[in-house]
């Protein structure tokens, strides 16, 4: 609930406070979205115009062909498909594993499971670079299979993410214990309780987890860069990273790649925002 009370708003001072708040926020909006707008507009500029001084905002000429040109030059379509495949596979595996673990930690609490949470959380402190090279070595000979250059090495690596377990556990903690008790009296086993009672109640939280996993996975570039040497298997972000520094790519094409890479995530978030907020409120995350 807003802190500023309705009664306060009637006073001059209250109106002034409210007005200032709205003013600051409105000024902030263009700042938040300006980089995107500029990025999107730059997609259509010519190579020379993108670098012109003083910088232009709206393209002088709208070169719509920039987009198909860039796509075909960099086989961007293939990379887009790779990214989406990766995200969907990771979401499926990760959400399943995390649900089982969170359920156990929150509701079932078998003996000795207190330390398991710390075990999971500890992984969040390890940085990606430290893991990257040993992971590569591990996958060159993974139980006898050479997994480097194979999407599954990435998918499996990403399936271990503590954030999802943490959020789900917090949410499950908030669900009352009696639900489970009554189901158990009726003779349901643990797994049935999970699927028929807990899961249906958890829809909002799942939208948060899924969307966040999607975003994190989509934005990854370090791991795919290291584990997938062949550029046909690259995800979008790796492509964006790789085209820099070669001196061969004009800025407007870089902008096209960046713009097309960010657009899907942007659209998904705008439409799914309501569910995310609902999910966060219900997850018990905020304490």
């Amino acid at each position: 609930m807003p802190a500023l009370q309705t009664v306060e708003l009637r006073s001059r001072k209250g109106k002034l406070t409210y007005g200032t708040i709205m003013g600051i926020l409105c000024v902030g909006i263009p700042l938040q979205i300006f980089p995107y707008v500029w990025l999107m507009l730059s997609m259509f500029k010519s190579a020379r115009e993108v670098r012109s001084i003083p910088p232009t905002f709206i393209p002088a000429t709208w070169l719509w062909e920039n987009i198909p040109d860039t796509f075909s030059r960099f086989h961007f379509g293939q990379n887009l498909w790779n990214s989406l495949f990766l995200c969907v596979a990771v979401i499926l595996i990760q959400v399943s594993i995390s649900t089982l673990a969170a359920y156990a930690l929150s509701k079932l609490r078998p003996k000795g499971s207190k330390w398991v949470m710390t075990f999971f959380l500890g992984t969040m402190m390890i940085n990606a670079q430290a893991l990257a090279w040993p992971t590569y070595i591990m996958f060159t000979n993974f139980f006898g299979v050479r997994m480097v250059d194979n999407m599954w090495s990435l998918i499996l690596s990403f399936s271990a993410w503590a954030w999802a377990i943490f959020i789900l556990k917090s949410f499950f903690d908030g669900l009352p214990h009696d639900l489970m008790e009554s189901a158990r009296i009726d003779g349901a086993n643990n797994f049935r309780i999970l699927t028929s009672i807990i899961l249906p109640l958890s829809k909002p939280v799942y939208s948060v987890v899924i969307l966040n996993t999607f975003m994190a996975c989509y934005n990854q570039f370090m791991y795919p860069l290291i584990l997938l040497p062949d550029s046909r298997n690259w995800t979008i972000m790796v492509r964006v990273y790789a085209i820099q520094g070669t001196g061969q790519t004009p800025w407007n094409q870089i902008m096209v790649l960046l713009g097309c890479a960010t657009l899907p995530v942007l659209l998904v978030y705008i439409f799914a925002q309501k569910y995310i907020v609902q999910g966060i409120s219900m997850s018990g995350l905020k304490g």
Binding site: R48, F74, I137, N141, P229
Partner: protein, 422 residues
């Protein structure tokens, strides 16, 4: 060897031709697998990673010759002495000798052969220079005059920079030939397999001061020392920079068209020297190397393939014909010493002035130093050079201190490669 995903039509055609020829000649051999390495500067890392995982190309042609000394010592490339020693072509003097010294060790063991020698010079943009009111043909060739010339060309409002410094990690490149033209050396051979550092001598300091002056006294460079290679090439192409480092053929036709420019507007000159007689160019080369774990059979085939692709006269003539039609032919001198002129004669699509310019540059080009750990030296020198270029009022003593410090670090970190002269 395979071109990148985003290579142009013409490169693809040229590669197809090569591939067809190889497969034609070696159809009886088992599979020849064509693979592609990552683009950009990651190719060394890619190679190492592949080696670590037990894989890697059997025959490779991307390692620049400066890497060979380091790699022959750390075991990442194969020894090919037998092939080279018994090589007829070489014994007849038909192989380009300019980078030979880098490819073998003191005991006569060979590890690589030349693939594509290259040269670099002072790249210029005619349109930009003329916009500044001058003619590239009159470019002066001493440091002082060049500095003043660029200062006159510079107009930060446009913006137009007289000379654009290669930024970020590549500072060592422009530095090196200028040290030579000042009469100094970057590294000096101790004769026992180690080298002592030469850039902290008086001549090295002179060069550093000159580069510093280009930034502060003449004010003719861009301000951004962290400029990426992309931006640097962009600037040269658009005309924000009049002079820079490179070779006009690295500006491919398609990209130039995107900016509305043509190849004719660009050219290359030798770097201005400290005095008139010291103009200089910079040469290097990529080499053929083989996998350290390759079998004798594999190596035999590799040797034949590389002979076909780089040293077979009939093949080369056909290739150059095709490349000329596609507009791809480049000024890299052929590895066949006797065919250098021949290659140039095929280049009918070049802008007029290029042939003379390349010949002039070739005449004064000196190969990059190739001591072991040369790449590390190039990386270590970036920090002190950035410091020198960023500080407005730096004295010679301070520069000397920085360069000495860098030399000390190199001596400590790489005792097998660098040792102080007695």
């Amino acid at each position: 060897m395979v071109p990148q995903d985003d290579a142009s039509e013409s490169s693809l055609k040229s590669f197809d031709f090569t591939k067809a020829k190889v497969e034609e000649k070696f159809s009886d051999v088992a599979d020849i697998e064509w693979t592609r390495m990552a683009p950009g500067t990651d190719y060394r890392q890619q190679y190492d990673k592949l080696l670590m995982s037990g894989d890697g190309p059997t025959l490779w042609n991307s390692l620049p010759f400066v890497d060979i000394q380091t790699r022959m010592r750390n075991g990442t490339i194969a020894e090919i002495t037998d092939y080279v020693v018994n090589w007829d072509l070489r014994n007849e003097g038909k192989v380009n000798p300019s980078i030979e010294e880098a490819l073998h060790d003191d005991e006569g063991r060979w590890y690589a052969v030349p693939f594509a020698p290259y040269i670099m010079g002072l790249l210029y943009n005619r349109t930009a220079i003329e916009a500044g009111g001058k003619d590239p043909a009159d470019t002066p060739n001493t440091w002082e005059e060049f500095g003043e010339w660029c200062a006159e060309l510079t107009d930060k409002e446009v913006p137009r920079f007289g000379y654009t410094l290669l930024g970020s990690d590549y500072l060592a490149w422009p530095y090196t030939p200028w040290v030579w033209s000042a009469g100094g050396e970057m590294v000096i051979n101790n004769g026992d397999g180690t080298y002592s550092i030469g850039f902290n001598s008086e001549e090295g300091i002179d060069t550093a001061m000159y580069m510093h002056d280009l930034v502060w006294k003449y004010g003719c460079t861009q301000t951004d020392l962290l400029e990426s290679y992309d931006d640097y090439m962009s600037n040269m192409t658009i005309g924000y920079a009049c002079y820079g480092w490179g070779l006009p053929t690295s500006l491919n036709i398609d990209k130039l068209a995107a900016y509305g420019a043509t190849q004719d507007e660009f050219g290359v000159l030798p770097f201005p020297g400290k005095t008139e007689d010291d103009v200089i160019g910079f040469a290097g080369g990529e080499t053929w190397t083989m996998h350290p774990n390759a079998t004798k059979e594999q190596m035999d085939v590799c040797w034949d393939i590389l002979n076909l692709l780089s040293y077979d006269e009939d093949y080369l003539r056909e290739l150059w014909q095709l490349e000329n039609e596609l507009g791809l032919i480049d000024p890299k001198p052929s590895c066949r010493q006797d065919l250098v002129e021949v290659k140039y004669s095929y280049a009918t699509n070049w802008p007029e002035h290029w042939k003379d310019e390349f010949a002039a540059l070739n005449a004064v080009a000196r190969p990059e130093p190739f001591c072991a750990e040369w790449n590390s030296l190039k990386d270590y020198i970036v920090a002190p050079m950035q410091q020198v270029l960023a500080t407005e009022n730096i004295t010679r003593e301070e520069v000397k201190e920085l360069l000495d410090e860098c030399a000390e670090k190199l001596y400590t970190d790489f005792p097998d490669a660098f040792k102080k002269a007695e």
